[in-house]
């Protein structure tokens, strides 16, 4: 899938430089779509979903400590 992201980007830049602008925009749109899909795929965990449980931001309830 990463290859598809790079391929669409390379095509967008090449066509943008030497070909019709509408075709470059088409490749660029495809690239953004694949980019978003791959990013979500990479960060998704079957166990945690999109959460990041290693970041503990919850403070102890007042009065519990000390």
């Amino acid at each position: 899938m990463m290859v598809a992201v790079f391929a669409t980007m390379a095509l967008a830049i090449l066509v943008g430089q030497f070909g019709p602008r509408w075709l470059a925009a088409l490749f660029l749109t495809a690239c953004i779509g694949l980019f978003a899909w791959l990013f979500l795929f990479e960060i998704y965990s079957p166990e945690w979903g999109f959460r990041m449980p290693w970041l503990q931001t919850l403070l102890g309830a007042p009065g519990r400590e000390g």
Binding site: M1, V5, M9, F39, E42, M52
Partner: protein
């Protein structure tokens, strides 16, 4: 006089022929410098990959794609006339870069098995943290440019071709970015094949052609 159209000549007179041309030149120079910086960052990433053997992770590769997207918007401004549409494209990719880099920074911020900052630290900061800084800097650079030169549609009156030296340098820059992108495409094929990307090694080198279809 409400509703009266402003004559074209007044617009030119207000800007001053020389003033407008100077701003347009400044605009193209600014864009060219941004292109050079982005090409430099991408080159440095590739040097670290090939010279130091630091394989890029999937999110790192996505960050490279985002940088190429920013470069695309800049290159397009040199192809024809300046357009804020191209600025918008660059900004979209700058935001994507910021999102991916922030997520990766948060992913590795708490070292644990399988997750820690890897690779060479430059000035004590690892690559994803640098990416956050780079994305923020690019967005800030565009904000600064819009604050100084924005709202001036007359920039589109001066195509890049009117500044031959800048246009020639931008052509070299564009050619260099295209070569970098093609090398990265080849590198992605060798490292990831047509399946998922891993940082254990180059699939194609380790497994031969069948490695291309490994998951």
């Amino acid at each position: 006089m409400l509703g009266a159209a402003v004559p074209e000549g007044d617009h030119q007179a207000r800007l001053g022929g020389r003033g407008g041309r100077f701003l347009a030149r400044l605009n193209y120079l600014y864009l060219l410098l941004m292109l050079v910086v982005i090409a430099g960052i991408l080159t440095a990433a590739m040097v670290m990959q090939y010279a130091k053997g630091e394989l890029p992770c999937p999110l790192c590769l996505l960050q490279r794609v985002a940088l190429f997207g920013i470069a695309y918007g800049i290159i397009q401004n040199f192809r024809g006339r300046f357009s804020y549409q191209n600025t918008g494209i660059s900004l979209v990719f700058a935001v994507l870069l910021l999102i991916v880099a922030s997520r990766q920074t948060l992913l590795d911020i708490y070292p644990r098995p399988g997750h820690e900052y890897i690779g060479t630290a430059i000035l004590g900061l690892h690559m994803p943290v640098w990416s956050v800084i780079i994305a923020s800097t690019i967005i800030s650079a565009y904000a600064l440019k819009l604050a100084i030169l924005g709202g001036d549609e007359h920039l589109a009156d001066y195509p890049a071709a009117e500044f031959p030296l800048l246009a020639r340098l931008a052509d070299f820059g564009a050619a260099y970015v295209i070569v970098l992108c093609l090398i990265n495409l080849g590198s992605a094929v060798v490292q990831c094949g047509f399946g998922e990307c891993h940082t254990m090694g180059y699939k194609l080198i380790e497994n031969g052609l069948p490695g291309l279809w490994l998951k």
